[in-house]
Symmetry: C2
Subunit: 238 residues, 2 copies
């Protein structure tokens, strides 16, 4: 009942945003291409510049377009970083249950391992990079630093699969997961780093099954702590 309006009656700025979207699609514009100015759109759509402005601002948030004085509007690039800045926290609010989030992490991260093994066989620098990050992690002395490096390790692990789409999804998952790292006890840091080491060593050996087992265990170790309930809708399904 809450979002009933979203279909029955679109706000004007949403309509305008849709028309700008259509403009991009119909003209087959690619990132970097220029769009008409805000005033131009306002005149063309017969609305005030404020309405256009709200639409362009919102689309700017999504990374769909960029706006700069004198340059005007240009088609942008979707940036997961930009998105996660606003969406990541919301999953902390919307509360997916811990168990589901952990299981999702396992799926996404282990899903990339086979590709990692494949690429690592051709390119030894991949191992070195992961190893270097883990060394940094070992040197962490403060929680925020540790969190940052731990996230970087896991993101790099998935990125090493070469599947940028999967890496993008993983970026999101990691952000949603952040709250579980906030109270990660220092006593467990060391064993975490060792887990990482074992995982990348298994990958270098080409032992994908072992790496999968270790990573599943590693992520699953978070189950020890917490798990709030929640209610989150899924969309298309049903």
């Amino acid at each position: 009942m809450a979002g009933a309006r979203s279909d029955s009656k679109l706000k004007k700025s949403e309509v305008v945003a849709g028309r700008i979207r259509d403009y991009i699609v119909n003209h087959e514009l690619k990132p970097g291409d220029r769009l008409p100015t805000e005033g131009e759109f306002a005149k063309r759509f017969g609305v005030s510049r404020v309405a256009v402005r709200e639409a362009t601002t919102a689309l700017g948030f999504l990374g769909i377009l960029d706006a700069a004085p004198r340059r005007g509007l240009t088609v942008g690039r979707v940036s997961m970083k930009k998105l996660s800045r606003y969406l990541g926290f919301h999953f902390a609010v919307g509360n997916y249950p811990a168990e589901e989030l952990i299981a999702t992490r396992i799926v996404v991260e282990t899903g990339g391992l086979a590709h990692v093994v494949e690429r690592m066989a051709c390119d030894p620098s991949i191992y070195q990079q992961l190893d270097a990050i883990n060394s940094e992690l070992r040197k962490a002395r403060e929680l925020n630093e540790w969190i940052k490096m731990d996230i970087r390790f896991h993101c790099s692990l998935v990125a090493a699969s070469g599947l940028r789409g999967l890496a993008a999804l993983n970026d999101l998952v990691q952000v949603f997961f952040r709250r579980f790292r906030e109270d990660f006890p220092k006593a467990l840091w060391k064993s975490g780093v060792e887990s990482h080491q074992q995982i990348i060593d298994a990958l270098r050996r080409g032992d994908c099954a072992k790496a999968t087992e270790l990573l599943t265990e590693h992520i699953g170790s978070h189950r020890a702590r917490v798990g709030k309930p929640a209610e989150v809708e899924s969309d298309f399904a049903e």
Copy 2:
């Protein structure tokens, strides 16, 4: 070089959006909770109401909050459907390579299968639901209808894992994948439906390995068609 501004100099509306986000986090607000009015925020942040309005509009696009006259601002629910309206088309513009998108789909969809088998054993209605959707798909006579039902089948398949986070990610992937369905030849519809049937039958038998193999093959069959190159950044990994 394009998005350099995004870190060096945030627009005021982005700053305001960030502060509203922080407000929600700091007050531990949950979906449905009320926020101060736009005027209130404007006074509190020392900016004009237009700046607040741009922020709230953008956050409204993302589903992070709802705004209604007299009711004011309330914390919203993230809706993948809402997001995909604006992001889906952009991935068609931003162009992930087909191969990567296919591989990502395989990871996400097959990753949920083990959970599906588990839940299906306890709840036969899950099979019935998937079977019903596939029957609908079999009756499709028009491309748009077919696309819609095919997406619904695959989304329901992942949703059947019970992992709502994974289902949300999958919703996104399906939207990004849409462009590959646009020119799906009618001649292949029938074999697609049969693949679906074999998959859910394998799941009902508890044969997860077979289902995984079939689904991998099913999704991979898209490889026959196309594959544009692209350049898309990944974020955290570097």
